[in-house]
């Protein structure tokens, strides 16, 4: 459960960013990495499932909210084999409520992806902006941002995220809260990367030329420097998404993330703790779904990174 570990993209301070490979070389390199391509395919599948989830569950006539007490035995555990797997309930049912686990897992992908991608967008926006300003302007701005990054990197993020959830009023939309909180606690590593790259670009000819022609800071930052960082930022975002998905699941697992009845894989796994000795399937389905998306994003992101900068290591 980390939000960083994507630091390998860091370019030594003051050195120019590596020359971006041509677009063709990039995709060629990526396509050779079978593991990464497989990851990309799985990511696309998950996104499709998330988009079509309401249609699929609608077709099957199931939904993640309806109780089905007939599917339970006297103790509240799912009746029948494999956690109540049947033609009606493909993945069995949730203990105590009898809600359809297939629908819960399917709709849970929406929660995971919305929070994962949303939080990543937030952290990328904050991190890119602060990193650009710090690297390009230097001076006290750089000092403040760099100290901020130091402080943020040192904080036990999960502990802060748990604690903040407790003091925000219940009326605040929970998914938006998760997006903001997870995003806020993960901007520091992207800020560091963008800062060091901007620092390298600051002295390059095209930036100097633009300044000499009288361009303002805004123009230079967003029209000259930023486009050169686009590839790095996109790759970094891909690497960050599994971390954000993991954070949402971990918070929900601990009971301080997505509140019921909104489906969440992490919360299902947390609920499964009391049941899994008798009903391991309740743990397995959401667990495999969560593991699958994280693994796929990691493989995809690693492949993108290696294709962008083959020196970054990883699998050889």
């Amino acid at each position: 459960m980390t939000l960083d570990h994507a630091d390998e993209l860091v370019v030594p301070e003051g050195q120019p960013a590596p020359a971006a490979p041509g677009r063709r070389t990039f995709w060629h390199r990526f396509a050779r990495d079978r593991f990464a391509v497989a990851g990309a395919v799985v990511v696309v599948l998950y996104v499709l499932v998330a988009l079509l989830a309401p249609a699929i569950t609608g077709l099957l006539g199931v939904d993640p909210y309806t109780y089905d007490l007939d599917a339970l035995d006297a103790t509240g555990a799912p009746a029948g084999w494999g956690g109540g797997i049947s033609a009606e309930h493909w993945f069995g049912v949730e203990p105590l409520t009898g809600r359809d686990l297939f629908a819960i897992v399917l709709m849970g992908s929406r929660t995971s992806l919305v929070v994962g991608i949303g939080a990543t967008v937030v952290s990328m926006l904050i991190g890119t902006l602060l990193g650009l300003l710090a690297g390009y302007l230097g001076g006290w701005v750089d000092w403040v941002v760099s100290r901020g990054v130091d402080v943020m990197l040192g904080l036990p993020a999960l502990i802060f995220m748990i604690a903040i959830g407790a003091v925000v009023p219940d009326s605040f939309p929970p998914l938006l809260l998760l997006v903001l909180v997870i995003g806020f606690f993960s901007w520091s590593s992207v800020a560091r990367v963008v800062r060091s790259q901007a620092l390298g670009l600051r002295t390059r000819g095209f930036v100097r030329a633009s300044q000499a022609l009288g361009a303002g800071h805004g123009h230079v930052l967003f029209r000259q420097v930023l486009p050169n960082l686009a590839a790095t930022i996109v790759v970094f975002a891909t690497i960050s998404i599994p971390g954000a998905i993991g954070a949402e699941a971990a918070l929900s697992f601990l009971g301080v993330g997505v509140p019921p009845p909104t489906p969440s894989w992490g919360r299902s796994i947390g609920d499964a703790v009391t049941w899994f000795s008798s009903d391991p399937m309740y743990l397995l389905f959401p667990g495999v779904a969560l593991f699958g998306i994280t693994l796929a994003f990691n493989a995809f992101g690693d492949g993108l990174r290696d294709a962008l900068d083959p020196r970054s290591g990883g699998r050889k």
Binding site: M1, P156, G255, A299
Partner: protein
């Protein structure tokens, strides 16, 4: 002299970071609408009672004054309440939990053995396993061992610790009945039982992070093995084993230690999750209880304490770093 100045700079920046963190923590929790006085006031809550509760908790003062009281309380202790009904909170005072009616410091100290037992054991295991795995993978590059270690690595990166923990309990606890699956036995009661109860948590927490370290170590080791100084060492006729362990490894460990410093927060977060999975009452359980009770002083105390813990641990990592790599002391 240089070492002294290095230490001084680090200490100053540590104090700066701690003050910033305490201010931020305090700001977030005190400025947010959850009002501890409102919660403690009970029902019916008359405005007078609310005012009394506020004054009792010290919440009637300006925010910065409250923060300053919190900071000075760490060094000198504090007293809450008015004459006649005083609650003293001796130094180091991290606040007073009006819900549990205990000083926050006592609550935290009571939970530390559990948290430290899990975190330190797991960290030792993850560093050893990660570095050893990475070195083996690099030296045996391209063999089945290399591939197995790297596949485990990416699996470990992607698997949530609680999932691995629960599967571990299912397999080693319930099915094979090899290890206990929950509870904590104090070290002083029985060191053997202590370790036996912690084996599974350690392995679970270490497995995930060891993976990342194995990957880093492998890449660094490959770099080092291709470098000039390793070629020179080999040319001198030193055995390959010595080249790897004495010459290459020393340089490989520098980035590993850097990453470890950054991961201390992750380690603590992982410990919170592990405590929940294995039903152990550590700092994480205390925090989750505080969330359940909206116990704001306890929340502030625990979050600030964990941040301080990380900052101090980082200082220790820096010292190790300075010993390992004399260049950073310059």
């Amino acid at each position: 002299m240089n070492a002294l100045r290095f230490g001084g700079t680090r200490l100053a920046s540590m104090v700066f970071v701690l003050l910033t963190v305490s201010l931020l923590t305090y700001a977030v929790f005190v400025l947010l609408p959850a009002d501890p006085a409102q919660l403690a006031c009970g029902r019916p809550c008359t405005p007078e009672r609310l005012e009394t509760a506020r004054a009792f908790m010290g919440l009637d003062q300006n925010f910065l004054v409250q923060w300053w009281n919190f900071v000075t309380g760490i060094f000198t202790g504090r007293t809450f309440g008015s004459a006649g009904a005083e609650i003293s909170c001796p130094a180091p005072c991290l606040g007073y939990s009006f819900v549990l009616r205990q000083p926050v410091t006592d609550l935290i100290v009571g939970r530390l053995p559990v948290t430290f037992s899990i975190a330190i054991g797991a960290a030792v295991l993850w560093l050893l396993a990660g570095v050893a795995g990475g070195v083996v993978a690099a030296v045996r590059r391209g063999t089945a061992a290399d591939r197995a270690i790297m596949v485990t690595a990416i699996t470990g990166v992607s698997a949530p610790s609680y999932l691995v923990g629960l599967l571990g309990i299912l397999l080693f606890g319930f099915t094979l009945d090899m290890v206990p699956v929950n509870g904590y036995v104090p070290f002083t009661t029985s060191p053997v039982d202590w370790a036996w109860h912690l084996v599974l948590p350690w392995c679970v927490l270490a497995f995930l992070s060891a993976a990342i370290y194995a990957r880093l170590t492998r890449a660094q080791m490959l770099d080092a093995l291709g470098s000039e100084y390793v070629r020179t060492a080999r040319a001198k006729g030193i055995t390959e084993r010595r080249v790897v362990t004495r010459h290459a490894l020393r340089n490989v460990l520098v980035p590993v230690v850097t990453l470890f410093g950054l991961d201390l927060g992750v380690l603590l977060g992982g410990t919170v999750i592990t405590e929940k999975v294995f039903s152990m009452a550590g700092l994480g359980a205390l925090l989750l209880d505080a969330v359940g009770n909206t116990d704001v002083p306890l929340l502030v105390g625990v979050t600030f304490f964990s941040a301080a813990l990380i900052v101090v641990a980082n200082l220790l990592v820096d010292v190790v770093y300075g010993v390992m790599d004399p260049r950073v002391r310059a």
